[in-house]
């Protein structure tokens, strides 16, 4: 039964949503972490705080915010609808957006910490070898910071896998379309289908444990440091 749950439609959708959300959060998080840790952009502290908000906000606030912006009557939602006849609401893309927002803080925090630990002298040395800023970032900074970033990314993936509240408000729980594992569990419990709820809960827990173990491994791997 656990195996059935692991291969069930809701769990597969959860994996797909979480993977895409983690990818978006990683790209966005890296760019933001670089802005925060490596530039003197005014207001970068506020920017970081705003991006960290989903970590502490009630998921309902996040979901409501997305609805207000991306809903049919929201400014972005109305525009997307007019231009492309496209809507995130009640679409699994909406779940990806919500999961990206909740995963972003974990990538951002891990990446900015990891970037801050990279020795600036190594970057300076690379620049004397005529590397561009982007070249330094890709060839020196990122390779040194990657264990921390990867640990944060895996944590973000685990968080995205567990996303429920905001996604439910934005994407709904449409079986076969937007119903992720978390939502299927909710529906099973509401309907008193305890066996199905338990099987899916165990499957999600098992998967999350694996991801968290992997994340811890990478956290323990220390970045290469210069010998003093």
């Amino acid at each position: 039964m656990l195996l059935d749950a692991l291969a069930s439609e809701p769990l597969l959708l959860s994996l797909r949503v979480a993977a895409l959300a983690t990818l978006c959060a990683l790209l966005l998080g890296l760019a933001l972490a670089w802005l925060v840790a490596r530039t003197r952009l005014p207001g970068r502290g506020l920017l970081e705080a705003l991006c960290m908000l989903p970590l502490v906000l009630p998921p309902t606030v996040l979901g409501y915010g997305v609805l207000l912006l991306m809903g049919r009557q929201g400014p972005i939602g109305a525009w997307l609808r007019e231009q492309f006849d496209y809507s995130l609401i009640f679409h699994w893309h909406g779940a990806v957006l919500a999961s990206t927002l909740v995963a972003l803080p974990l990538v951002l925090k891990a990446a900015s910490t990891a970037l801050a630990q990279v020795d600036p002298e190594l970057e300076a040395a690379a620049r004397t070898l005529r590397q561009s800023r982007l070249g330094v970032f890709l060839r020196v900074t990122l390779p040194l910071a990657w264990p921390g970033i990867l640990a944060g990314t895996l944590l973000a993936f685990a968080r995205a896998l567990g996303e429920f509240g905001a996604s439910l408000m934005v994407a709904g729980s449409i079986p076969g379309q937007t119903q992720t594992a978390a939502m299927a569990i909710y529906d099973h419990v509401q309907a008193g289908q305890d066996e199905a709820a338990l099987a899916l809960s165990l499957a999600v827990s098992a998967l999350s444990v694996v991801v968290l173990l992997a994340s811890n491994r990478f956290l323990q791997a220390r970045p290469i440091r210069r010998h003093d």
Binding site: Q73, F90, G172, S173, I174, Q190, A191, G192
Partner: protein, 241 residues
């Protein structure tokens, strides 16, 4: 100081002796709120508290031991499943309702067949497993031989008020609610038609076996059947039992 603060956190929330918890189907929320002053005036010291959700959700809470005194469901089927938790002689039907197709204002939808149009992309329907209005909707659409064909368009909702909200926000092109819901939200949604082809919508109420105040709970059931409550329910769009 710190110890006192900790103790305060651990204190139970204040519960008055005469507090009555009523788990009521989502569609009853406004009507029950409106009849609270009348009941509390007739029973000095009594305080009503409402727990509002889909009837199926309320049943699960009761089955798991929620401290509830009175249960009012939006269908007989859910009350039948609550049989082992209620005191059977207290069970009474106190209201009825109708199933209505609603749309955002300005829509031209006027029949069930219109739901097949390409312009109708999303239809909000209560989850049939837990939400009575969803079950009535499924019956109606099955009678019209449309349930299967419309599956791709259906957005499941947690309770009837969520259906109403989806329609009012314009996130769906249509939804199925009760006459009383459509009346409450008449400025935000348009009632397109009354839908038949389902069991009659009847609201049973009963006192729960676990009630700590069975006498007051029974008084509430009786109050629902009395003239003032009935007049108020009908004013809010409900039908006679």
């Amino acid at each position: 100081m710190l110890r006192r603060a900790l103790l305060l956190l651990l204190l139970p929330l204040s519960v008055q002796g005469q507090e009555l918890t009523v788990s009521a189907a989502a569609s009853l929320a406004d009507a029950f709120k409106a009849l609270t002053p009348g009941f509390e005036a007739a029973h000095p010291g009594a305080k009503l508290r409402f727990n509002s959700a889909a009837s199926g959700q309320l049943l699960q809470q009761i089955a798991q031991g929620a401290p509830v005194d009175v249960f009012a469901s939006a269908d007989e089927a859910t009350m039948d499943r609550a049989q082992q938790f209620i005191t059977p002689p207290s069970r009474r039907v106190f209201a009825s309702n109708e199933l209505v197709l609603v749309t955002p204002p300005g829509s031209a939808l006027s029949s069930l067949a219109d739901l097949n149009l390409a312009g109708v992309k999303r239809i909000a329907v209560g989850k049939p497993a837990t939400v009575p209005v969803g079950r009535y909707t499924q019956q109606a659409l099955e009678s019209a031989r449309m349930w299967q064909a419309l599956q791709r368009k259906i957005v499941p909702a947690d309770n009837v008020r969520q259906v109403l909200d989806y329609v009012a926000r314009g996130e769906v092109e249509a939804g199925f609610v009760y006459r009383s819901d459509a009346q409450i939200a008449k400025r935000r949604v348009r009632a397109a038609m009354t839908v038949g082809g389902h069991e009659p919508v009847r609201y049973p109420v009963a006192v729960l076996q676990g009630s700590r105040q069975p006498a007051l709970a029974q008084a509430f059931v009786n109050y629902l059947l009395g003239q003032p409550a009935q007049a108020l329910l009908q004013q809010q769009g409900f039908g006679t039992p």
